[in-house]
């Protein structure tokens, strides 16, 4: 019994992480039909901002040396600025292009940022110790839950609630939802396009910053590709959730996270390395049954 609870906790914790990433992707997709590959590098760069840029494998801390609140603020600030910068430089000039062009341009931005990090920090993985206390397990009944998993779940729940409140209750949030529903119409009705899109990028940066912190605490290492897998899972989550649907993105994130943990736990040992392949196959199978994703929005089908 305890075992099953443990697995469930793992599954929900990983699912929350992917849900955060999927939301970050979904928000930007909603307002500008951009599937943003560079999200992976937002996460990576957020994490690398913790250390001083050197070639060392155990680099001295930069933002990571600050007190917790300042450190969190600093990382989030860096990632938000980066997200806004990429929006301004690379994506705004392409705003009226078709989704394929946007997708390709985000692929190029991602490649650029990844190699920039490599140039500055070298390609070797680095170790970084922040929030070590959180790695300790907390015992609840007969279940031992690593503190960082509790933190992930708590943070995700908090951010989800905040995001829902923001989208439903504030004027900007409502404008953002309107933009996702029908960008042209919203614009005609006075939605400030630049501000809303920039805000979507800022929020996606904020979410990415949170993910970089959570990931770094969890693994204690920095790696050039640390953002890649979460973002790839996030892509698949948004696609199976239904492109353009935020509840769909969150749902998709939880689904792929849960599927991943369940496969990891219940696959025979010699098949376990193939876990990711299993999840991705599942993604394609879901798409076969529901090509528009689980929650179909008006954005899923191109307007004629």
């Amino acid at each position: 019994m305890a075992n099953i609870v443990q697995v469930l906790v793992d599954a929900i914790a990983l699912g929350s992480l992917y849900a955060l990433v999927a939301l970050a992707i979904g928000l930007v997709f909603g307002v500008m039909r951009l599937v943003n590959f560079a999200q992976a590098d937002y996460i990576t760069i957020g994490a690398y901002a913790l250390v001083v840029p050197t070639a060392s494998v155990t680099p001295p801390l930069l933002l990571g040396a600050l007190p917790a609140a300042l450190m969190i603020g600093g990382v989030l600030f860096v990632v938000v600025v980066l997200a806004l910068l990429t929006e301004r430089v690379a994506f705004r000039p392409l705003r009226n292009s078709n989704p394929s062009t946007l997708l390709i341009s985000s692929f190029a931005v991602s490649y650029f940022l990844q190699n920039l990090v490599m140039l500055i920090h070298t390609g070797r993985p680095k170790s970084v110790g922040i929030g070590q206390g959180l790695a300790n397990a907390v015992e609840i009944g007969s279940v031992r839950v690593p503190g960082v998993q509790l933190l992930t779940m708590g943070v995700t729940a908090g951010l989800l609630v905040a995001l829902v409140l923001f989208l439903k209750k504030t004027p900007l949030g409502i404008q953002m939802r309107a933009a996702a529903e029908n960008f042209q119409m919203a614009r005609l009705l006075g939605m400030p396009a630049n501000r809303v899109i920039a805000l979507a990028f800022a929020i996606s940066g904020l979410l990415s910053g949170v993910v970089s912190l959570l990931l770094t605490i969890q693994t204690g290492t920095l790696d050039l590709r640390m953002g890649l897998m979460p973002v790839v899972y996030g892509f698949f989550a948004t696609v199976i959730g239904g492109m353009g649907s935020l509840p769909g993105a969150a749902l998709g994130g939880f689904l792929v996270g849960v599927a991943s943990v369940l496969l990891q736990t219940y696959l025979p040992a010699d098949l376990r390395p193939f876990r990711d392949a299993g999840v991705f196959t599942l993604v394609i199978l879901i798409l076969l049954v529901r090509p528009q994703g689980l929650i179909v929005t008006s954005a899923a089908k191109e307007r004629v």
């Binding site: 599937v35 690379a90 000039p93 392409l94 292009s97 989704p99 394929s100 062009t101 997708l103 390709i104 341009s105 692929f107 190029a108 931005v109 490649y111 650029f112 190699n115 920039l116 490599m118 140039l119 890649l228 790839v232 892509f235 698949f236 696609v239 492109m243 390395p273 193939f274 876990r275 990711d276 392949a277 991705f280 196959t281 993604v283 394609i284 798409l287 076969l288 090509p291 528009q292 994703g293 191109e302 004629v304």
Partner: protein, 353 residues
Amino acid sequence: MKSKTMPSLAAIGRFWFPVLALVVPLALIVVVTGHFGGLSLQRTVIEMLISIVIVVGLYVFVGNSGIISFGHATFMAIAAYASAWQTCCEMLKPITMSGLPHFLRDQSIPLLPSAVVSVLLAGAAAFLTGLVIMRLTGLAASISTLAVLFILNVVYSNWDSVTMGSASIVGLPTYVTAWLALICAVLAIVIAYLYQISAFGLAIRATREDEVAAAASGISLYWSRLIAFTLSGFLVGLGGVLQAHYLGTVSINNFFLSFTFLALAMLIVGGMGSLAGAVVGVVVITVMIDIFRRLESGISIGGEQWSLPAGTQELIIAGFMLLILVFRKDGIMAGREIGLPQQLQREKGLING
């Protein structure tokens, strides 16, 4: 009557001109560098020709359908590994790749049949993948091709007894010369050209311009895309075999995101709307890579040795691609083929990117 049974030379010339305009310069490059170029230049030319096979293969699907595929490195990898299993290191195979079936493990298969089988396998894999993925449209299809790439990468990196995991398989016979690469590049260009002017090609180009209108005219989005996807699987498979037997090694890491980025960058920079765009893109990016590779490895100017930091090349290519996307969205060729001047005039109204 005569003109019907036997088209005039001029007509043949007009028909083949877009192909000749690409093939003749390539052949000239091979001849000139073969005679006057150094070894490293000759290697660059071979790499360029192999890239042309791959990018033209990619173009057959991406360019004609307008759907970006991140999955084509999959079919390259399948062909490259298949060829490695058939031809590589007869002595070591039973030990390093013990999971292979007997007929592969204990003998080598002659080069030509093995290459044909590998290419067919890549095409078959593309067909099977396409059966599933071509049911999706637009971005969902693109993301699913990415899923395919990841699935293959996970499987081949972990299937140790057959693929040697993420280690490289070394010792493939290296038989690829500049002339062989040229022949394959010409073959790929001719196939892509004949396909794009065929009824199938026209149909899929119609779906690219307007899905709804094309479907309303009786074109099946599914079948037209599946045909293109399969054909393009064969061609990139050929590219995979060539690359494997040029380098002499096969490693799954070479068929992942960096490679996918480079191939797409070549296609986008040249312009994914035309065959000429695919070829020009390869040439331009290859030249850029070669220049920056030389600068990174260091040159001496006035006795002083200086070099660019490693990784500059990648930054420049990504930046260049972004500039192209912003300022010349349809690429260098902007969707046009290289035509005879008067032909260009006549078709200007018909063809645009």
